[in-house]
């Protein structure tokens, strides 16, 4: 039986898991929760995940949430090799560092800019928003120094985790190609991967939605 993935919209952490599943050819059964009906806070879902976030995975009798933990688990359990999440101590350590950067810095910055637009009718991107996004971009620019992918010479789940968030942030505050050439090249390369399709659909509808709100 295919593992079940609970999602609401195709948010960045959800898309990161979808990219991972697609790369390793794993079928997931998507179950859509309706946020407007607060289905992610009903007692049934809270029993699965008291933190009420999506994505949440149910693999037989095992329940897991947080996209980073889910990606690492799926690769370790279902992938043919370890390339997406290397067994090598040092390589894995860098992947973990980048994922905690996504989780502790990049994703919160995205939410901080996005929330007032979605919930409070904010219509403009402020200079403060731009400074915050540019700081995230400059960290990534430094991480990419001398590297093809975000952790080294091959694609890992850290690339998936970050590309889904960065492409969403890029809709709000455009990445300046001149200031962030490494970042720009990295995005272009990811966009050319077949698996990038798993990011595109969610990103497109998000882009349309945000542009409408900002108009």
């Amino acid at each position: 039986m295919a593992p079940v993935l609970y999602v609401t919209h195709l948010t960045p952490p959800v898309r990161a898991v979808l990219m991972t599943a697609k790369t390793i050819d794993l079928d997931l059964e998507l179950k859509k929760l309706n946020v407007e009906k607060r289905e992610h806070k009903n007692s049934e879902f809270l029993k699965l995940n008291p933190q009420h976030t999506v994505p949440t995975l149910v693999d037989n009798d095992f329940v897991l949430w947080d996209s980073h933990a889910i990606m690492a688990y799926l690769v370790s359990k279902y992938a043919k090799d370890d390339s997406l999440y290397p067994n090598d101590l040092k390589q894995r350590a860098i992947v973990n560092q980048r994922m905690h950067f996504e989780n502790g810095v990049a994703f919160p910055e995205l939410l901080k800019i996005l929330y007032p637009i979605i919930h409070d009718g904010k219509k403009t991107i402020t200079q403060e928003d731009e400074i915050a996004a540019d700081e995230v971009y400059s960290f990534l620019e430094a991480f990419l120094d001398g590297k093809q992918w975000i952790t080294g010479d091959s694609v890992t789940i850290a690339d998936y985790s970050l590309i889904t968030t960065i492409t969403a942030l890029n809709v709000l505050v455009k990445i300046d190609h001149v200031v962030f050439p490494n970042l720009n090249t990295w995005m272009k390369k990811l966009e050319q991967l077949p698996v990038y399709e798993a990011n595109r659909k969610g990103l497109d509808s998000y882009t349309t939605h945000v542009k409408l709100l900002l108009r």
């Binding site: 949430w65 688990y73 101590l89 040092k90 973990n96 560092q97 905690h100 989780n103 991480f143």
Partner: protein, 216 residues
């Protein structure tokens, strides 16, 4: 040669690494940075860690790594005698990863959000919004502890170390109500009894003194 840890004692992620090192009997050479002086933004430090955070580890072979969670996993995998603090078992490991991401994305993030305006003199009190945010963290932890002695099950893991460092600090800003959060309160007591918890104390004391100097 012992691995080097760039650190600042009051920092919760630093303390999580210190607890981990102590529990596996690993010596670290500590290099203290003064963040107020901007030690973390010197060209030399930025070359090590462009994200300019503490803790940053430099292993004896020159390998550089930051983020406390990544450091803890790395140190255990390389130096620990067994895997009990971060088991090989896929499911156990996955739940530990989830808890550690809860730390970096939620608990520690809330901690910083409350602390920063105090440090930068933008406010002098804990607001009701702060209290609400901290209480949400506590209620998540209370739920995670349902039916469990430790945060991920029957054994202490680095998820406990990571979250005790953050929670004991958040508790300085917004007290944990033992009536509302009995499991969390019991867990804190249990962790405090671990010999490795000694490594959390000096930095936490410094942090308490620091917060008192701001809040009075």
């Amino acid at each position: 040669m012992a691995p080097t840890l760039y650190m600042m004692p009051p920092s919760p992620p630093v303390r999580a690494v210190l607890i981990t090192a102590k529990s596996i009997g690993l010596d670290l050479e500590l290099k203290q940075l003064n963040l107020r002086r901007g030690d973390h933004k010197t060209p030399e430090y930025l070359k090590l860690n462009p994200q300019h955070t503490v803790p940053t580890l430099v292993d004896d072979d020159g390998f550089v790594l930051w983020d406390s969670h990544a450091i803890m996993v790395y140190l255990l995998s390389k130096y620990a005698k067994d895997d009990s603090l971060y088991p090989q078992d896929l499911r156990k490991r996955a739940v530990i990863d989830q808890r550690m991401h809860f730390d970096s994305g939620v608990a520690f993030a809330v901690f910083l959000r409350i602390l920063y305006p105090l440090i930068y003199g933008e406010k002098k009190t804990i607001t009701s919004e702060d209290t609400k945010a901290a209480e949400e963290v506590y209620s998540f932890l209370e739920a995670f502890l349902e039916g469990r002695q430790w945060l991920t099950g029957d054994f202490v893991t680095i998820a406990d170390y990571s979250l005790i460092a953050t929670t004991s600090s958040l508790n300085v800003l917004v007290k944990i109500d033992p009536v509302k959060y009995p499991k969390l309160t019991a867990w804190v007591k249990n962790v405090e009894k671990l010999p490795a918890y000694e490594a959390n104390k000096p930095g936490l004391e410094k942090f308490i003194g620091y917060v008192k100097s701001i809040l009075g």
